[in-house]
Structure formats: C-alpha cells, structure tokens
C-alpha cells in the first residue's frame, strides 16, 4: 500500500474525493449567492431551503410521478426556478429600495417557513433516494476505488459551475448582466428590461441551488434540514472568497472542500471548524476576501 505523509494512499484520496464533493456543493451554492448578490444586492438566506427544495422536488418527481433521476436533474431546477420567479416578483422585489439587511431578514424568515412546512409534511428523519442504476458501483482508478456516483457529482458540478462562468463572462447576455450590476439605470436607458433581468438572475441562482440539491439527494438523505446544515458553512465560504468574482467563488468553494477533506485525514477533530478558521485568518490578513474588490 502506498503511504503519503504517513497516511495510507486510499484513505487520503478517499477523503480528498469527499472533500471535492463537499467543495462542489460549496461552489454551486456560493456561486448562486454571489450572482444574486451582484444583481439584487441581497444575501439570499433562503438559499439552503431552496437547495433542500431541489432535493425534495427530485424525490417527489420519482415517487409521485415516476420521473427518474436524469430528467429530474433538469425538471427540479426548473420547478424551483419558477418558484423563485414567483417569490422574487411578489415578495423580494418590494425590498430593493431598503437597507440590504432587510433582504437578509426577509429571506431568513422565508427559509424558516419553507423548512417548517417540509418538516410538518415529511418529518425530519430523511427519505432515501436511490443512486440511478447507470451510476451504481465503483471504478478502480489504480490508486483508489472511486464510487461512480461521487465522480459524477464532481464532474457535473464542475461542468455547471464553468458553464455559469462562461455565460456570465463570455456571452452578450452575461455582458448585459454585468453591466446592470455596475449601473442598472444606465443599462435600463439602453432599453434593457432590468426588472426582468433581475428576476431571471434570481431564478438562475435559485435553479443552481436546486440542481445542487438534486445531486445531493442520493448522497445525503433527503430531509428538511439538509440545506441549513450547509448554508452556514457556505456563508463562511462567501466571506473567504469575497463576492466580487464568479471564478473566485468557484475556486474558493472547491478549494475549501479539499482543505476540509485533508483536515479529516490529519486532524479529524477540527474538520467541522476548519472552514471557519480559514475565514478568521482571511479576515485578519485580507478582510475583503481572497477575490473581493477593495471597499
């Protein structure tokens, strides 16, 4: 058996893979938060609840309608995205003229309502979601056995993250979006429907959370608390990365997942807190965050 730093190779790579998976979720969630914050100037506290709704949507599609995993990967984000459009249009849009903190409080209240309703309907013990047949089993990579589904999650998350980056940085829609983030009234003067753009941005960020939720469904049990377990760490990730750059959110998310995985190998007691410790160090050394713009 190969030993690396006194640790068996398969253990190290196994934890690294787990770290990458957590990192994939951090990246997708903090990316959505950053996109929404850039456009709407609110921190979407309901992001964890919407992630959970994505997982539940996949479970419901399977158990009530008989729609499997791969169609759900498209349909669940679409459904949750439509839900996002409705709440942005009816509720969140009323807050744009107020202090940003009200947006935080409102979406916090929203997450309590959503999680409470799901807890009433489905309990908090969690519902199983089967890994699709094609992704069952594991592959021998030579240095370790990789469960196929976990490899798929990392791959899918990377594709989605980099597509989002490409849309925002490389397309004309993305250019309009970035322009509206900088100066909304000016972009509106050019004839762009900015309120619609805002709604679509919110829906997009929310759909990203729901997509992450579907990916998470077979790994964690589908339960009403699955989002709130993640979201506090994701906030630390956002503080570490700073919300200035899309690529920054992606890299910080994956990077911190890996750091967490490595901590599990070398000092397991600290694995739950290591992301927060990194945040403390970043605040001391570079308060605006690794990729943040100067205030």
């Amino acid at each position: 058996m190969i030993m690396i730093f006194g640790v068996p190779g398969p253990l190290l790579f196994g934890q690294l893979l787990l770290g990458l998976i957590n990192g994939a979720f951090y990246a997708m969630l903090s990316l959505g938060l950053a996109v929404i914050f850039g456009m709407l100037n609110i921190i979407n506290f309901a992001h964890g609840a919407l992630f959970m709704m994505g997982a539940f949507a996949a479970w419901m599609l399977l158990n009530y309608v008989g729609i499997g995993y791969f169609p759900a990967l498209i349909l669940a984000p679409l459904l949750v995205g439509i839900f996002g459009v409705i709440i942005e249009k009816t509720i969140i849009s009323r807050l744009y003229k107020l202090d940003h903190l009200y947006g935080l409080l409102l979406t916090f209240g929203m997450s309590l309502v959503i999680e409470g309703l799901f807890r009433n309907a489905y309990g908090s013990s969690g519902l199983p979601y089967r890994i699709p047949d094609i992704l069952q089993g594991a592959t021998n990579l030579g240095f370790m056995y990789m469960p196929n589904y976990r490899g798929w999650v990392v791959l899918a998350a990377m594709v989605v993250c980099f597509s989002t980056w490409a849309i925002i940085e490389k397309t004309s829609l993305g250019a309009t979006l970035r322009a509206a983030t900088e100066n909304a009234p000016l972009v509106q003067a050019f004839g762009v429907n900015v309120p619609r753009l805002i709604t679509l941005t919110y829906a997009g960020g929310v759909a990203l959370a729901a997509f992450a939720g579907v990916l998470a469904a077979p790994i964690y049990s589908v339960n009403p608390n699955m989002g709130s377990n993640f979201i506090n760490t994701v906030f630390a990730v956002v503080v570490i990365g700073g919300m200035g750059s899309i690529m920054g959110s992606i890299l910080t998310g994956f990077g911190l997942g890996v750091v967490e995985g490595l901590t599990k190998v070398f000092y397991p007691q600290a694995s739950a807190t290591v992301v927060f410790l990194v945040m403390v160090i970043v605040l001391l050394v570079r308060p605006r965050g690794l990729f943040g713009k100067a205030a």
Partner: protein, 310 residues
Amino acid sequence: MFGFSRAQSIAFILMVVLIAVCPFVLYPVFLMRVLTAALFACSFNLMIGYVGLLSFGQAAFFGMGSYVAAWTMKAWHVDASVAIVLGGLTGAALGLVLGYLAIRRSGIYFAMITLALAQMVYFFCLEAPFTGGEDGIQQVPRGHLFGLIDLNNDMTMYWVTAAVFIGGFLLVHRIIHSPFGQVLKGIRENEPRATSLGYRTDDYKLIAFVLSCMIAGVAGGTKALVFGIATLTDVHYSTSGEVVLTTLLGGLGTVFGPAVGALVVTSMENYLAQFGAWVTVTQGAIFMICVLAFRRGIIGELGAFLKISL
C-alpha cells in the same frame, strides 16, 4: 435619571409595576423565561438599534454565558451571583475576540461573519468535553444567593431575575444616553464623518459589541440559573434568529421594544409548542410580515401613533 424622557419614565414605571404584579397572576417560570429573553433582546438591540450592526451570532455569547454559569455552579458550587457575573465576563471575553474579527467588515458581511463565527462556537460546544455534548449540562443546583437567600423557591428566583433584567435594561439605556452612546449613533448615521471628526470608529464599535455580548452572557447565565440547564440550543443559530425576530417584532432601536417582543415571542412559543414545526412556520411568517409591512415593530408603531419616542 438615565436619560428617560417623560413618556419613557411613565412607560418604565408601568413596566416595573407589571413585573411586580404579574407573578401573582401568571406562572413565574414562564415570566422568568420572558425576562431572560427580554434581556437577551436588549443586548442585541444595543448593536442593531444604536450601532446599526446586525449581529447574527448573538447566541454564541448567550450560550457560552449559559454554559459557563451552569458549569461553575455544578462543578465548583459557586454562588449564583458569581455564576451570573462569570457568564457576563465570558460573553464579554468572547465578544472581544469575535468582535475584533467581525468589525473589519460592515453591513451584510458583518451579519455573515458573526453567523459563521457563532457556528464555529457551536461546533466547539458540540465537541468540547465540559459542555456534555448533546445532553448539555443538566440539573444545575440553584443554591443560595450570597449564601443566604434560598433560590429554590420560584418566587424568590423570580425577584432575582427581575432585578437582573431591570439592572441590564437600565445599563443599556445608560450606555445609549451617555456621550459614548451619542458617538455610536453618530457612527450609525455617517461613519466617514465620525472618522473625520477624529473618532476611532472601530474602537467604539468594538466596545459597543463587547458590552452587548456581556449583557447577552448575563442573560445566558441567568437562564442557566433559572432552568438549571445549559444545552446546545442556547448556542444554536436558531437562537440567534429568534433574538433578531424578538427585537424586530418589538421595534428595532426602541427602548421598550425588546421587552414587548420577548413577551409576544415567548408566549407564542408557549402556546404553539404542541404543534411541532408550526412554531418555525409562524416565526418565519412573522419575520416576513415584519420586514414587508411592519418595519417599525409594535413599539415603533405605537410611538409613531402617539408621536412620542418609546
């Protein structure tokens, strides 16, 4: 005295009378829950209402105060008064460290950082041996205050809790109406201007944060004394959310808002407890209604209606 206006003096006397009369009508243990929640909300209000910083990690200071008070009473058999003081000191010390980090950012980042730091404290309490993990510290003896007054009687305990609350309430009010408090309000309104006038705004914010955390620690210590228990719920972020709700509902930046909010939220929890997760749904709904239509809160609206500042 204490910078009360005429209307506020009348409201204060009314509050003291209510505190004195209520235990003869209502269950004292319930009222003690209200009073500790009210003191906790007063500590939060000091930050959001007068410095303009939304701390989403207030439970860390409340919970650590509660743990330290419970542990010292159970393991060292310290006097109840010492335990409460230790709870306050714990809150202040933790507030100094976490505040030093958090005030480096403001606005929405401050909220996220305090939330994340509080989550770190939560994980610490989950792992640390002295907190008793999932079980918490249970069956903490109330003992005798100053070695003389038997606190096992609920009525006696109630008067002590009431005294702690009124003391904390007056302290917050005194802080706000001191020259120091005026500078805080100046920072809230226009920080660059306060800086240009020569105030070290970060120092002021940090001192206010430490004071707020100290009072939260006192509230936590008192809670541990009253109920003889300190658990992970005290440091959980839902407790932080609850104190935000309490203050928002009562009225951010009002003198009596936190107390009124605590009465409403605690009563609601009491009556809705049998309906399981509906408590959470109701709290969330109240949050949303407050933000959308009722931003001044109960006392803020009442004050606006009567054209006085309460």
